[in-house]
């Protein structure tokens, strides 16, 4: 048994690629800056494929210089462009952290809102591919709480192209747009006209940010969930699979909430489900400790969580460097069994 798969010919990488084509075609102020972007290579994960041929002057390939290219893009953004930066691996964001934290996100405020910094930084994150300790991490949690930085990470149940388009065209302050590596080749999953995805019922909750909705997936629509499972981006598949297994094996109703806005945490989207289930499980690919899950749990608990409190569990990576060997990597990163165990722990009687 597998979790249901919808039918859509569009792949995650295609959706982003088409959005970029459209952005460059329709918006003269949009530029793409990064390493190895030119055709025929088209970027390490082929998101930029075809762009340099179609828009040779507006796709800028640079040497290995993450801090420099982010700084250049920040300057361009201050002068009326809407640049898109591609950082080849999310791990390399550390190199441009100074530009993001101390410059790009500060200038609007420092210059009394006389200018905006509409900068979108796209980057692939995530492991499970045997790329080792410095090319497999999920580091967006390091940027939580940076004022004026928005972090967006669509899953395969979202529309990544549309969300990227929205970020690039509407942002006033920088956006970190996280693309999970494993998602690139996957087909996007869209519900049928009755809101069904396989046996799941899917509904969008856009209370927090309509352009970056949280998606609710449940096998028992209308019923109070036993557990609210919050996840985003690359963890969507794992979350849905665990929800399916928990229901089919033990009839535990798990409502999966797939956020696409990572920061600020879309608490308004998550709260109603937790108030009904009184059990929160947060799943993230990054290290659990000091992670997104801690922030989600705390915000929900303090923002009017269920009366009488709620049970909280987190599943994430272990606090270890990610090994290259696949067999070891699997032990460090979250797996279905970890999620199932957390669900069982939360729903244990007594």
């Amino acid at each position: 048994m597998t979790a249901p798969a919808g039918k859509s010919p569009m792949r995650y990488v295609q959706s982003l690629n088409q959005a970029l084509h459209r952005l460059l075609a329709e918006r003269p102020e949009v530029l793409l800056i990064g390493e190895d972007l030119l055709d025929p290579y088209g970027g390490a994960f082929k998101v930029a494929k075809g762009l340099s041929s179609a828009f040779p002057e507006r796709v800028l390939t640079t040497p290995i210089s993450e801090a420099g290219l982010t700084g250049v893009a920040t300057g361009m953004a201050m002068r009326g462009f809407r640049p898109i930066v591609e950082i080849m691996f999310g791990d390399f964001l550390m190199l441009c952290a100074d530009q993001i934290v101390n410059h790009a996100t500060k200038f609007s405020y420092m210059y009394s809102e006389q200018l905006g910094v509409p900068l979108t930084i796209r980057t692939p994150m995530g492991g499970y591919r045997g790329y080792g300790p410095t090319h497999s991490q999920t580091l967006e949690a390091m940027f939580l709480g940076v004022p004026r930085l928005t972090i967006v990470a669509p899953s395969q149940y979202h529309d990544p192209g549309a969300q990227l388009f929205d970020c690039v065209t509407r942002a006033r302050d920088p956006v970190l747009f996280v693309e999970n590596k494993l998602l690139y080749p996957q087909s996007l999953i869209t519900p049928d006209d009755q809101g069904r995805v396989g046996h799941f019922t899917l509904a969008a909750i856009g209370t927090a940010a309509p352009a970056h909705p949280t998606l609710s997936l449940t096998l028992a629509p209308g019923a109070d969930p036993d557990v609210t499972l919050v996840a985003y981006g690359g963890m969507a598949g794992l979350a849905v699979e665990a929800a399916y297994q928990a229901f089919m094996q033990d009839e535990v109703v798990v409502e999966v909430l797939l956020a696409s806005m990572v920061s600020p945490v879309p608490s308004a989207d998550l709260l109603p489900s937790v108030q009904r289930s009184r059990r929160l499980l947060v799943l993230e690919e990054g290290v659990c400790e000091g992670g997104w899950g801690a922030e989600v749990a705390c915000q929900l608990a303090t923002a009017g969580g269920p009366r009488g409190g709620m049970a909280i569990a987190r599943v994430g990576a272990k606090r270890l460097p990610i090994p290259s060997a696949r067999s070891l990597e699997q032990k460090v990163l979250p797996a279905t069994g970890d999620v199932m165990a957390a669900i069982a722990q939360l729903t244990r009687e007594g």
Binding site: R196, H199, D250, E251, E349
Partner: protein
């Protein structure tokens, strides 16, 4: 005859769908049981689907169609109209037109209850355990239906009671003798024991029924099964009472309350039930206890709740109470109108049950909330461990009463290897006949039956096990429930 549903089987570990390759029969064909109806193909294999009964066949899926596990493929039956009716009900679309799949729990329950999953209709895409249970209930006869008592009585004797002036003229002692000879059917207003009064239009008491002194029964129909006991000083005021075999009530129970003698007023109790001292059963809107149900002292079952004015914002509440097989309501609990307590459920002491209780759960509090569940089924290895431990406890408890080595546990029944034992506990069916032939008493723990000529030692064993909730058939008169 109801049509037989031929459903798509579980294809394999990974395949949940298959394609109908071809039909070997046409609609309306006569088929024999075992005849190949159609072929299905999955990614890995092809399957032949055979008729599970003989009759007229009605295919439900087109050749080339994709089908899922458990999806009905064809109907087989003898009555064309019934086939068409059934087809209409089966092909009514579920939401999303997606064939329903079943959870593991639903599958297990459907196997346990002998229900075909394909027949369970659900609003959503997935059949849950509760859907199977609801379907099973919908097929159950009315739990409060009473077979006419008169049908069970000798018509000639009934006529004599009603019309024969000679009978009416008989002295009381003779009448009682006649009642007894006619099958222990006792007419209106006859005293059973000093202080006990039974008033009823029709009463049927079978062998070895005891009614305690001071008991008063007043009912339109009253039937009580074999080896049942009503405790002293009880009061039963109920229009229809039907009590099964081996019922045991302690003293001072009260049956009755508001709406007694309304048509809905009935008390139906299954076999081997226990109603402890000072229980109150408000039967006005119907109470039904299944088999092996126990109520501890001071349990109150209310089928009505009203006093304050509903026009002024208050509620009135009426409804039958159904307590299913094996449930146990412990001391001082109160059960409110309309509640159904599922099979095997446990209600802990002092609880107020204000909503339905799921089978095999443990609930407690006011209002009673689920605090646990019974893990079922118990695996055989665990049962064996428990049985061995019980045997150890039994030897200790019955030391001096039961000789050393007289009671043993045997995994495999080998009569030759029993030494001086007289009683064997086992889960093994094979070899039971030989063991019994050797003069042994065999307690079969797999289906709770006892075999062989019983003796004082087996009585002790039986009584010891009874006090652990293990009851054996045939029932022993001494131990009632």
């Amino acid at each position: 005859m109801e049509p037989h549903v031929v459903a798509a089987p579980q294809f394999g570990v990974n395949d949940t769908t298959a394609t109908v390759v071809a039909w070997h029969v046409a609609p309306g064909d006569d088929v024999a049981k075992g005849m190949v109806l159609c072929e299905l193909e999955t990614a890995k294999a092809t399957f032949e689907i055979e008729a599970t009964a003989a009759g007229i066949v009605l295919p439900l899926a087109e050749a080339g169609a994709e089908v899922t596990v458990n999806q009905p493929l064809a109907l087989v039956g003898t009555d064309r109209a019934a086939l068409e009716r059934r087809r209409a009900s089966l092909t009514a679309p579920v939401a999303g037109d997606q064939p329903a799949i079943a959870t593991d729990k639903a599958r297990r329950l459907s196997e346990e209850l002998g229900i075909e999953l394909a027949e369970v209709r659900v609003a959503g895409p997935i059949i849950r355990e509760s859907d199977v249970r609801a379907y099973a209930r919908s097929r159950e006869p009315d739990p409060f239906e009473l077979a006419p008592l008169a049908a069970r009585l000798d018509p000639a004797f009934r006529r004599a009671i009603a019309d024969d002036p000679g009978f009416a003229a008989l002295p009381s002692a003779d009448k009682v003798a006649r009642y007894r000879s006619a099958g222990a059917i006792i007419g209106e207003g006859v005293k059973i024991a000093p202080g006990a009064v039974i008033l009823a239009d029709a009463i049927e008491l079978q062998d070895e029924v005891e009614i305690g002194p001071g008991t008063r029964v007043s009912a339109e129909t009253f039937a009580m099964g074999r080896m049942s006991v009503l405790g002293a000083s009880g009061r039963i005021n109920c229009r229809h009472v039907r009590i099964g075999d081996c019922f045991f009530s302690a003293s001072e129970i009260i049956v009755g309350g508001a709406d007694r003698f309304a048509d809905s007023d009935r008390l139906i109790i299954g076999d081997q039930c226990l109603v402890s001292a000072r229980c109150f059963l408000d039967s006005g809107h119907g109470i039904r206890l299944g088999n092996q149900v126990a109520l501890s002292p001071f349990v109150k079952l209310y089928t009505h709740q009203h006093w304050q004015n509903v026009l002024e914002g208050y509620h009135a509440n009426f409804g039958p109470i159904i307590i299913e097989d094996g449930a146990y309501v412990t001391g001082d609990c109160l059960v409110t109108p309309g509640v159904r307590i599922g099979a095997g459920a446990t209600i802990l002491a002092n609880s107020t049950v204000a909503g339905n209780v799921e089978p095999y759960t443990v609930v407690s509090g006011n209002p009673a909330r689920r605090i646990g569940k019974v893990e079922r089924p118990v695996p055989l290895e665990r049962k064996e461990r428990i049985a061995r431990r019980l045997l150890g406890q039994m030897r200790e408890a019955l030391a001096g009463v039961v000789p050393e080595g007289a009671v043993i546990y045997m995994r495999t029944l080998e009569p030759k290897a029993i030494g001086g034992a007289q009683v064997v506990l086992t889960f093994d069916r094979a070899g039971q006949e030989n063991a019994i032939a050797e003069g042994l008493v065999v307690f079969d723990l797999s289906d709770y039956r006892v075999h062989g000529r019983q003796n004082p030692i087996s009585d002790e064993v039986r009584n010891f096990l009874r006090r652990r909730g293990i009851r054996f058939a045939p029932i022993h008169w001494r131990y009632g429930g």
